[in-house]
C-alpha cells in the first residue's frame, strides 16, 4: 500500500514538475514575486516574461551540457 502511494506521488511529481525541477521552482518564485509587486504601485506584468527569458535558456544549457 505504501509503495503504491509513493509510486502515485512520484507520478504526480513527474507529471507536474517534469525533467527540470528548477523550472518549476523558478515559475513559482516568479508568480510569488508578481503577487508581491502587484500589491505595490510598481507594474508587475514583466516578471513572468523575464522569468521565461531566464529559465528557458538555463534549462536548455543544462540539458545541452549533459
Amino acid at each position: 500500500m505504501t509503495a503504491r502511494i509513493i509510486a502515485l506521488l512520484r507520478f504526480c511529481y513527474d507529471f507536474v514538475v517534469g525533467d527540470d525541477w528548477r523550472v518549476a521552482l523558478g515559475v513559482a518564485t516568479a508568480l510569488a514575486l508578481t503577487y508581491g509587486i502587484s500589491a505595490t504601485s510598481i507594474p508587475a506584468w514583466w516578471i513572468l516574461p523575464a522569468a521565461v527569458a531566464i529559465l528557458l535558456p538555463l534549462s536548455l544549457w543544462r540539458a545541452a551540457r549533459r
Binding site: V17, G18, D19, D20, L31, Y35, A44, V52, A63, A64
Partner: protein, 258 residues
Amino acid sequence: MGSGALFVAVFLACLVEAVEALTIVLAAGAGRDWRSAITGSSAAVAVLALIVAALGPALTALPLGALRLVVGGLLLIFGLQWLRKAILRASGLNAMHDEVAIYRTELAAAQAAPPGNHVSWSTVADWYSFTLSFKGVLLEGLEVAFIALTFGANQRNIPLAAAAAVSAVVIVTVTGVAVRAPLAQVPENAMKFAVGVMLTSFGVFWGAEGAGASWPGGDAALLAVVPAVALFALALVAALRLITKSLRVPATAQAHRP
C-alpha cells in the same frame, strides 16, 4: 483570439499525443491481439473522458483569479517543458521522435512477451495487449486532458476544448486505421513547438493576471506575448544550432588530423 487559440492549442497537443499513443496501440494489436488492444485503448479513452467530466465543472466553479494563478503557473511549467524538448530536438541536440523505430521496439517486445492465461469470464483475450494499449493511451492522454481542462476552464469553454481533443483523436484514429502503420510523416516536433509556445504564452498571461498584475493593453497584450515567445524560442534554436556546429567542427578536424 481566445477561442481560436484554445482550439488550436488543445487540438495540436492532442494530435501529438494521439500519434504517439497510436504507435503503441498498433504494436500491441499487430504483435498480439487487435481486439484486446482496441478494448484497452477504448477503456483508457473512457477513463480520460470521466476525468474531464468530473474535474471540468469543479474547475469552472473556482473564482477566476485563483484559477488563473494556479492554471497559469501549471501551463507555464508544462509549456516550458514542451518548448525545451522541441528546441533540443530542432537544434539537433536530441534525436527527433522516430515513430517507426518506437513501433519496431514495441512490436518486438510485444511478440517476445509470453502468452498469458486466458481468463474464462473475461472478454479480453490477451491481457498484455490490453494493458499495453490502456497504459499507452492513458499516459499520453493524461497531459492532454489536463491541458484541455485548464485551457477550457480559463476560457470558461470546456466543451470547445473537449471538441478540439475529440477531433484530433478521431483524425488520428481514422488515419491510423486507414494506413495501419505509425504516422511517421506527421511533423510532431513542429507541432510540439507550437503547443509549447501557446502554453507558455497563455501561462505567462494568465499567471500574471491571476497574481494581480495588469497587462498593458489588456487582452490585446496576448497578441504581443505569443509572437515574442515564438521568436525567442526560434532564436534559442538558432543559437543552439550554432553552438553544436562550432563544437562539432573542431572535433571533426581533430579526428581527421594525421
